[in-house]
Amino acid sequence: MPADKLIVNPIDCAGHGACAELLPELIALDEWGYPVIDPRPLPPGLERHARAAVSACPTLALRLVPASEQAR
């Protein structure tokens, strides 16, 4: 079963950095504070944490895209 993927809308992202704190396994911050996201599909055990990270983003820039919608 194909997994979801995390993507960030780089225009909405203002570099708050909450996502990297909540999902350090997949999200790191670059030297300017913007998220670098592991592009591979989400490992099953981290889904809850991914949702927490998405929920914590103050600008709603982080999204979890279901496998069915992935086209980019």
């Binding site: 225009i11 909405d12 992202c13 203002a14 570099g15 708050h16 950095g17 909450a18 704190e21 909540l22 030297e31 300017w32 504070g33 913007y34 914590a56 103050p58 600008t59 709603l60 820039a61």
Partner: protein, 228 residues
């Protein structure tokens, strides 16, 4: 309007939960302003600011709900339940209770749209959330004028402190917004800073105007000049 001297537990509960609700709402406003400024609470991780903002707003809603229910249930004065959400329908303290209803409505709108924000467009969510700037002063007015509790003694001090805090935070937010670099000028600003030979801190992007915040390069004077 002098304070009611009835000693029913419900009435006291309503007044007490009202005060706590005001405190919580004030904290929520301050945290909300802090989130937009990308500020941090000392000793806490970044996600704590928005996390606290969210949790305290839910707690505040709970306290307002208690405040409303106890006031309605208490038999000493007549307050129908509907007047908690429909303004100016309460026979008791029509105006100030009505204002409380307005505040409650706005609060519910912000909370509900935030809980459902993934289904809303950004613009819609933002438009509703901005009403928080109206909600808080209205809630404050209701708190101070619907009963005499906050008009004397230590509670008066509390009311004043809350007001000062929110006004100051709002002022800070507005000043930062006025100093924020418009999108079209951001890259020019960094180019100038970088070509002067400095290594400026990162220029914030995103659609919200905000000031710069220190990164892992401490004591970076070049940062300050970017936003002037």
């Amino acid at each position: 309007m002098s304070g009611i001297n009835s000693s029913t537990a419900l009435w006291y509960a309503s007044r007490a939960t009202g005060v706590v609700a005001l405190l919580l709402l004030t904290a929520v406003m301050l945290l909300g302003l802090l989130v937009t400024r990308q500020g941090r609470l000392p000793g806490l991780p970044r996600f704590a600011v928005s996390g606290l903002h969210r949790n305290l707003s839910l707690l505040a809603t709970a306290f307002v709900a208690f405040h409303v229910v106890t006031a309605v249930l208490d038999g000493y004065v007549d307050i129908p339940l509907t007047s908690a959400v429909i303004p100016l329908t309460s026979p008791y303290e029509r105006l100030w209770l009505g204002i409380g209803a307005v505040a409650f409505d706005l609060m519910l709108a912000s909370v509900v749209t935030s809980l459902l924000r993934r289904r809303l467009s950004r613009k819609a969510w933002r438009a509703v959330h901005l009403t928080a700037y109206l909600c808080w002063p209205v809630a404050w007015l209701h708190s101070v004028f619907a009963s005499g509790d906050l008009q004397q003694g230590p509670l008066l001090g509390l009311a004043v402190v809350c007001a000062v805090a929110v006004v100051a935070a709002l002022g800070w937010r507005l000043v930062a917004a006025s100093k924020a670099t418009p999108r079209a000028e951001r890259v020019g600003l960094i180019m100038a800073a970088v070509h002067r030979g400095g290594q400026p801190g990162n220029q914030p992007s995103g659609n919200q105007p905000q000031g710069t915040r220190p990164r892992r390069k401490p004591g970076n004077e070049a940062e300050r000049t970017l936003i002037q």
